[in-house]
């Protein structure tokens, strides 16, 4: 997700302004000059300033030259059309949040590993055994040894 400095700077400005305004509306502690509002107000204003500097390209001239040489290597090859694939991991984490209690850890984990392995270009020959073995091992380590209460759901582990 390579965005121009104008976009990221603008987002920071909006965010900073929102934080400063929302912060200044926080109720003050009676009898004290500085309360919960002071810090968000300060940070918000700082963000607005930084955002503006970045958006108008002032920060660019500060940039150390060696940094500018770096991008061509990694940025030319990885930006294949498969860009949205980067969203697979967070989407799978969201899936975990929604499904873990109902399906149980083993099934949810298997789906996550399978989909992620395929997205990384694995053949089903690798992805299927991975999806079976990895959640079992993680479950064994975390449930049995570390006693994390992983949800059982539809399929309970044999231990």
């Amino acid at each position: 997700m390579h965005l121009s400095d104008r976009v990221t700077g603008g987002v920071l400005m909006v965010l900073g302004a929102a934080a400063a305004i929302a912060g200044s509306r926080l109720p003050a502690v009676p009898g004290q000059e500085v309360g919960p509002a002071a810090f968000p107000l300060l940070i918000g204003s700082g963000l607005v300033l930084c955002g503006a500097l970045i958006a108008f390209g002032i920060g660019r001239s500060f940039e150390v030259p060696e940094e500018e040489e770096a991008p061509p290597g990694p940025s030319s090859s990885p930006w294949r059309p498969g860009g949205p694939r980067a969203l697979v991991p967070p989407a799978l984490l969201l899936f975990y949040v929604l499904a873990a209690d109902r399906l149980g850890f083993l099934l949810t984990g298997a789906v996550m590993v399978f989909v992620a392995a395929l997205a990384l270009g694995a053949r089903p020959r690798l992805a299927v055994p991975m999806a079976i073995v990895a959640p079992l091992l993680v479950h064994l380590a975390f449930y049995k040894l570390l006693r994390v209460p992983l949800p059982e759901g539809l399929l309970a582990a044999p231990w």
């Binding site: 997700m1 926080l26 975990y96």
Partner: protein, 503 residues
């Protein structure tokens, strides 16, 4: 002396020794896999430390991080892909040595000087920490405010990108730390009516997201590294003693630079390696050999990145201000285990501190035999396809985040911070500054507001006390530093242009 014997007893406990060995193997493997950094190795260890004794918990973090920083050299040397960012500075040099048929020399230098750097760094921790602890006992909220602020500024200074973007990242982190009701007034802020946000954003899910999930996301869009050709290695430590004698000065310079950069809050092993490698080239008698497979830079930078690891614990243990991203995680573990950072740690829990020093020394000694084994097995370990490693990492992120609070909201946070970290890194915003902001936000605000209340809203007392005055001056120096660099760069460029014109 009693404390020291007690410390030996603490470290010699079987659970601690097993923890050291297991985390050493874990650190070596994770560090050697490209894309898995030492910070990520540490972040994924946190849920495991819940179930360990305090000393064993600290031991796993120390050992795993030291091993990971060394073993990041292995793929750098053999494949020209750094295993961790800390090895990136001298990857080209190490690979050039491999192409000249001297892979043993490059790997051996990485191993031998990593161990030396680690031990020298530990000695600096042993010497520096008690001295500073004495001083820190007299610190008030004013000094702590400036220290924390200075720490944040240092983090933006050393980032290898635009300082304005670094400051913006840091402010973003501070803003994240505002969420919840853990502020001096106890008012819920920015919770948007979500009860899970009342307790604030825990640093651990944020760290796991920024350092681990974003790395899995990056793996999705970058091509897979090539497989490692199998090769036979000769003796790995054969010529290291000769190198040690020949490059004594660069080695010590690397150690000292590493220690200084480690102590600076927010700047860690990767920065130490970059600075030391550049320094080595500048002061070398034969700078023209750099880049063609010359071990001098490897000696200096290899020692430097491991030295910075130990000295990074100095501000963390004394003030609760992380010296790098690894200690940012370690501080959370210290609090959890009742070893709250602060100067009194060195007087009241002296035996635990001695135990910590011993673990550092021990970890750096076992690094040599285990490192040799790892180098010999590297071809097999690096053969593990990324499509098999990354999905497991992602599953561990989910379970690890869940384990820290036993609620699913942390898993969601991990995903959100993964996206944030990914987007920020793509656009040149350093994530280390963000993390530091999140970890230190509460501390900065607490000391800032308490100081303001104490001084009745007056700014002057912030500068009046001698130590706080000095710290304030240093902070403003750090703020104005980028401006100085910028002017210097412009002048340099103008001089180069003039040189081109005449030459």
């Amino acid at each position: 002396m009693m404390d020291f014997l007690e410390a030996v007893r603490l470290v010699a406990a079987p659970d601690v020794l097993i923890a050291i060995f297991a985390s050493a193997v874990y650190g070596l493997v994770v560090g050697s896999l490209p894309g898995l950094s030492a910070t990520m190795a540490t972040a994924l260890l946190v849920p495991v430390t819940f179930w360990l004794s305090p000393i064993a918990a600290v031991a796993t973090i120390i050992t795993a991080s030291a091993m990971a920083i060394f073993s990041g050299d292995i793929p750098g040397c053999l494949l020209r892909i750094p295993g961790t960012p800390a090895s990136a500075a001298y990857t080209d040099e190490a690979y050039a040595l491999t192409r000249k048929g001297q892979a043993e020399l490059a790997l051996g230098a990485g191993l031998w000087f990593s161990a030396i750097g680690g031990i020298v760094g530990t000695l600096s921790l042993v010497l520096m920490a008690p001295l500073l602890a004495e001083m820190a006992l007299s610190f008030s909220t004013f000094e702590y405010f400036w220290l924390a602020f200075l720490g944040l500024m240092c983090a933006t200074l050393v980032a290898r990108s635009s300082p304005i973007k670094a400051i913006a990242s840091m402010l973003l982190g501070l803003l994240v730390s505002c969420i919840g009701m853990e502020n001096p007034a106890g008012t819920p802020r920015f919770t948007f009516g979500i009860p899970d946000l009342l307790g604030g954003i825990e640093p651990i899910p944020a760290l796991v997201g920024v350092f681990a999930v974003s790395e899995v996301m990056r793996a999705m869009v970058t091509p897979e590294p090539p497989p490692l050709p199998r090769r036979k290695f000769g003796s790995i430590l054969a010529n290291q003693w000769m190198l040690t004698k020949k490059y004594q000065w660069p080695m010590w310079r690397g150690n000292v630079i590493g220690i200084i950069i480690g102590v600076l809050p927010g700047a860690g092993a990767d920065m130490a390696a970059w600075v030391s490698y550049a320094m080595s080239k500048r002061f070398s008698k034969e700078p023209e050999k750099f880049g063609t497979g010359h071990p001098e830079g490897l000696v200096e930078a290899g020692a430097s990145n491991n030295a910075s690891l130990a000295s990074g614990w100095v501000p963390s243990l004394l003030f609760g201000i992380p010296g790098d991203t690894i200690t940012a995680i370690a501080i959370g573990v210290l609090y959890m285990k009742g070893l709250n950072p602060g100067p009194t740690l060195f007087t009241e829990r002296a035996s635990s501190m001695y135990a910590l020093y011993l673990i550092f020394i021990l970890a750096n000694i076992i690094m040599i035999p285990l490192g040799i084994v790892m180098i010999r097995l590297a071809a097999s370990v690096l053969r593990a396809p990324r499509a098999a490693v990354m999905p497991v990492i992602m599953l561990l992120c989910a379970v690890g985040a869940f384990a820290t609070g036993s609620n699913l909201f942390s898993v969601l946070l991990v995903g959100v911070f993964g996206c944030l970290g990914f987007v920020m890194e793509r656009n040149g915003y350093p994530v280390a500054a963000l993390v530091l902001g999140i970890v230190m936000g509460t501390m900065v605000e607490q000391n800032f507001i308490t100081s303001l209340i104490k001084s009745d809203g007056d700014i002057l007392p912030f500068f009046e006390r001698p130590v706080s005055g000095v710290l304030a001056a240093m902070t403003f120096g750090a703020l104005l530093w980028p401006l100085g660099i910028w002017i210097w760069n412009r002048m340099q460029r103008r001089r180069m242009a003039a040189g081109d014109a005449t030459g």
